[in-house]
Symmetry: C2
Amino acid sequence: RIPDSTIRRLPAYLRVLESQKEERTTSVALGERTGYSSEQVRKDLAYFGAFGTRGVGYDVSQLGQQIRHILGLDRSVTAVLVGVGHLGTALLRYTQEGVRDVQFAAALDNNPQVIGGAIGSIVVEDIKHLESVVRERKIRLAVLTVPAAAAESVALRLAEAGVGAILNFAPVPILTDQDRVLVQNLDLTLEMQAMAYFVTEHDDL
Amino acid sequence: RIPDSTIRRLPAYLRVLESQKEERTTSVALGERTGYSSEQVRKDLAYFGAFGTRGVGYDVSQLGQQIRHILGLDRSVTAVLVGVGHLGTALLRYTQEGVRDVQFAAALDNNPQVIGGAIGSIVVEDIKHLESVVRERKIRLAVLTVPAAAAESVALRLAEAGVGAILNFAPVPILTDQDRVLVQNLDLTLEMQAMAYFVTEHDDL
Ligand SMILES: NC(=O)c1ccc[n+]([C@@H]2O[C@H](COP(=O)([O-])OP(=O)(O)OC[C@H]3O[C@@H](n4cnc5c(N)ncnc54)[C@H](O)[C@@H]3O)[C@@H](O)[C@H]2O)c1
Ligand SMILES: NC(=O)c1ccc[n+]([C@@H]2O[C@H](COP(=O)([O-])OP(=O)(O)OC[C@H]3O[C@@H](n4cnc5c(N)ncnc54)[C@H](O)[C@@H]3O)[C@@H](O)[C@H]2O)c1
């Protein structure tokens, strides 16, 4: 079995491989462009039998296909987005611009002024249809971009309707006392905090 | 010196510590709530001398303060956001909602209909003032949420004005042939891809 922490790094390797023009790459090059050490890259790739050839490295297109297969991207993943406000709209538009491997099959909201509007090819539907949308379209993944106050109640409905994972942007923990649904909390300010370190002066630690 | 990969994990530990009610925690608990292994947590914390007490763990408030100091969060970091569209607006609002450690000191756009508008306490300014805004307010960090076509030219102006790091959301690489300014590319669909793995069926790998 491949460790979860390795799986979480694979999309970053895939991004680099897909934006690369050369036919071959090395663990050092992949490391530099993703921020991981070259040992970490070698270790991760070895889990699924990609060892590369000493002195020559890895074949870019073959490695990309291997990672796509592992992530299940060769079988397209459908997701539902709930909360079509500023962040939700930006995400819906972004996943329809160019080749993004995850497509939204539905977008839900509770505001009558938002319901019925189109974002690219997706028409926003009323959240009252959440259960039937998730079941009929076999949706396994949800992205939650509702205000903090609505997050837990919407997450409970998604879990009961059968999603397997939720990417949560609301700044509150959700579904904390169960472990059937995978919850990933994302905080864009965390990225900013990490960068703050690199631009502020430091006394000797 | 603390390795960059450790620094990148510290904000995630800080989030967990700050949402914790208990007075003590352990590397296992921190690992579970952030997704890293407990060995990784112990190794990271040991870099700055936080060893915890065997069997008792770490003091939550003390560890939080240590991490805040290392990340330079006890000296507030000011940032500029460029491109006040859907994503930019969501980020500006979010960083003003509750205690977020990074504050935006300015928001810039080139659309006359956006300039002069207020998002919380921030009034959007014209991007033609980029240089003077960065210099006069001593801004070291920039967040780029402009369309792909504008990303490189805006990034060059930010670099020349003196920012030290850019968090880039546009789906194109920027400032690739220099290494004075730190660039971090962020792709929210990467998180979705990693989660897709956990919800799709896998043949034996
Ligand atoms: N994690 C991060 O880094 C980050 C960054 C920006 C925003 N956020 C968070 O993301 C969320 C969305 O932010 P935004 O700026 O897009 O907010 P917004 O107010 O623009 O959008 C919220 C949307 O959710 C809808 N909504 C509200 N209650 C609902 C419910 N019960 N069911 C269905 N839809 C509902 C609203 O109609 C609206 O369209 C907020 O929780 C915010 O704190 C997080
Ligand atoms: N990385 C990700 O996961 C992710 C997710 C969503 C969106 N995006 C990207 O983020 C960017 C913003 O997305 P959005 O949905 O908010 O787009 P948007 O069109 O709503 O916003 C873009 C804003 O930039 C401004 N702008 C355009 N050219 C400019 C220039 N030269 N100088 C200053 N301002 C300028 C526009 O006036 C507008 O306000 C896009 O590049 C999009 O692809 C990335």
